[in-house]
Symmetry: C2
Subunit: 381 residues, 2 copies
């Protein structure tokens, strides 16, 4: 069966950071207003809303939209760990494709400052977590393994943070706007060997919003709609026996399916926002996306291929390491960045001539890979 095309016509976000005095609704409504204004859409034109958050409590979307009088419409709250608002976006895409919605709003929001710092709380039912296998420890093991298998050096690993902090310094919406040197990264406080503090994304609060619609309606809102060429979601698969720690099975499979849906491949990408929760993650995903030969991600980054002027600019926003990672807000914020890049509105961090972008939000799946969620969107102009 044929379904409707979907386009993004509005984006907005608040600068990520720490807002302990704001409620969740207070965090999010300015992002929603910005996205509506960006689309030139009145609240009454929105016929469905999806709110992605991981730690939001009940009816977050309704609480947010109540603040701006956008009530009555179907509102669905989606939780999928770090990919919550990316999964919410996919639900909105399906609602438009199904004909149920013409113009939908997606919100991503999180308030991590309410937890008072440290790593985010995880499910006690996970025995891995009870053994201390929190996210920094898990990714540290992956980093050790990558270094062992492929000869990645500590300096090559730390260079991810240098690049993304350099990018984030150009982004007014980034939580960490100060560039850092390789020495500063390596000398920062140890967290989990080989990670130092600057190789871990910061905790923070944030919100982002996206307006999308049936492509046939897009030019009502803007002359430069961005097409959703692929909207893909996967959960992890259990792998019995030996687990290849440097192959993120869920991302490898999800990106393959997303490429197929969009009818393109890694060589077509101009700009990517990917899930660099820790430095090693960005390198592992270079391999997983097929941006470079497997095991060569350290050299690929060192070549300049993934910064401004390179083959494909990865995390021009600063990524999770510099823009910040308020869990539920990240997926939507990645889309905000790619849309701005494809429109040519990214200011000092503009990727020249960007036509094809990809977003990648993945989460959960501590050691049991089958518990994860990964959402990938391909956007084109």
């Amino acid at each position: 069966m044929s379904t409707r095309g979907v386009s993004v016509v509005g984006v907005g976000m608040i600068p990520f950071g720490k807002y302990p005095e704001r409620s969740l609704a207070d965090l999010a409504w300015p992002a929603v207003k910005a996205a509506l204004a960006d689309a030139g859409a009145a609240p009454k034109e929105i016929d469905a809303a999806y709110c992605g958050a991981a730690f939001a409590g009940m009816l977050a979307g309704q609480r947010i939209l109540g603040r701006i009088g956008l009530t009555g419409i179907p509102v669905v709250n989606v939780e999928n760990a770090c990919s919550s608002s990316a999964a919410a976006l996919r639900e909105a895409v399906l609602a438009v494709r199904s004909g149920e919605s013409d113009v939908a709003l997606v919100i991503g929001v999180e308030k991590l400052s309410k937890f008072g710092g440290g790593t985010i709380p995880l499910e006690e039912e996970d025995w891995e977590v009870r053994q201390g296998l929190l996210m920094p420890a898990l990714y540290a093991m992956r980093a050790q393994r990558y270094m062992h298998e492929h000869g990645l050096t500590r300096e090559q690993l730390a260079a991810v943070a240098v690049k993304n902090r350099k990018h984030g310094a150009l982004n007014p919406d980034a939580q960490m706007r100060k560039p850092v040197t390789l020495d500063e990264v390596l000398a920062s406080r140890p967290v989990a060997e080989p990670f130092t503090l600057l190789q871990c994304c910061p905790a923070g609060d944030g919100a982002a919003a996206v307006v999308l619609c049936a492509s046939t309606l897009a030019r009502r809102f803007r002359r430069d709609p961005i097409t959703v060429a692929a909207s893909h979601l996967a959960s992890g698969k259990f792998v019995p026996g030996f687990r290849d720690m440097t192959t993120p099975e869920i991302t490898v499979r999800c990106v393959k399916e997303a490429y197929e849906e969009a009818g393109l491949g890694p060589q077509d990408l101009d700009v990517v926002e990917l899930h660099d929760a820790f430095t090693i993650a960005e390198l592992i995903y270079y391999d997983a996306f097929g941006l470079c030969e497997r095991g060569t991600a350290g050299e690929y980054l060192a070549s300049g291929a993934t910064t401004f002027g390179g083959e494909v600019v990865v995390n021009p926003s600063g990524g999770l390491l510099a823009k910040g990672h308020p869990v539920g807000a990240t997926g939507a914020a990645q889309v905000v960045e790619i849309v701005r890049q494809l429109r040519g509105e990214a200011g000092e961090r503009q990727v020249d001539g960007a036509k094809v972008g990809l977003t990648h939000a993945t989460g959960g799946g501590i050691a049991g890979f089958d518990h994860g969620a990964c959402a990938i969107h391909v956007l084109t102009r």
Copy 2:
């Protein structure tokens, strides 16, 4: 545009009750297995899953499906307070209509026993909650107002509990299986005037699951598929100034839209599962659904119209008052009951010749009606 029809081909649930020793995943997977067996579907035939829960923590659906090896597929966790799994069902319906999914699984699950009893925790940001306006108090005010406006008596109100406990006594999956007399209801412990304990739904744990598919594929699974004639979701609208406490705006609007989508009206309903969290709720919804003249719900119930042999049997499962109300599980469990009724599989509580059924799950919206969510499904055979 035309979209695909959707049918229900499998249902399953566990008896609602208190299972403090079980994890959320342990509660839910037997319901999922039962629904798959009921559909005659292998796990590998399921291509998408939606999990509705209000207090489940991260990645509940993934944790549940990991237990039975159903991994890899898109899994979306939906939170919409008391209508969480009803909203999850609607997302699954849209996924099938959009062509993204052929055979989808919906899970509703909740473990309230982890809170140790009493009323469920609500958002502290709601100033109404901070003032003590918890659900029993809110519905008690509505009851007082209905009594004042329409001359409803305490006995007519309490009769809702007598009816639904009578129904629940016939349901092996009900949490409260002991019939009660009017005197017992009135003499039970006071909770919030005019409610006594037996006029409030019990807290408990539970899980329910539904398998649905494109109608064109339904007979692969069963000879008696049930058609989803309407799948509707709404959020509340803010009503400035005077609020009519006996008119649930969100339900009135949502049911009107659901009737329109299904092309039928209240006179066509044979069986209804509605959201009787408190006795008054059932009566207010008789009015809202157009089952009786406004203000006459007490007499309508007393006439026997809504029990076995009556015009439209309401809550044959026992409803929230007797079957129980593990928040996120309720919407899916209502569908389980209606499907069993429409198939003629409801045993001692079978509604003779039932052809058209309706489910109604609504929640949130303490005093601020704009914060609520209401989901209504119309099912036909």
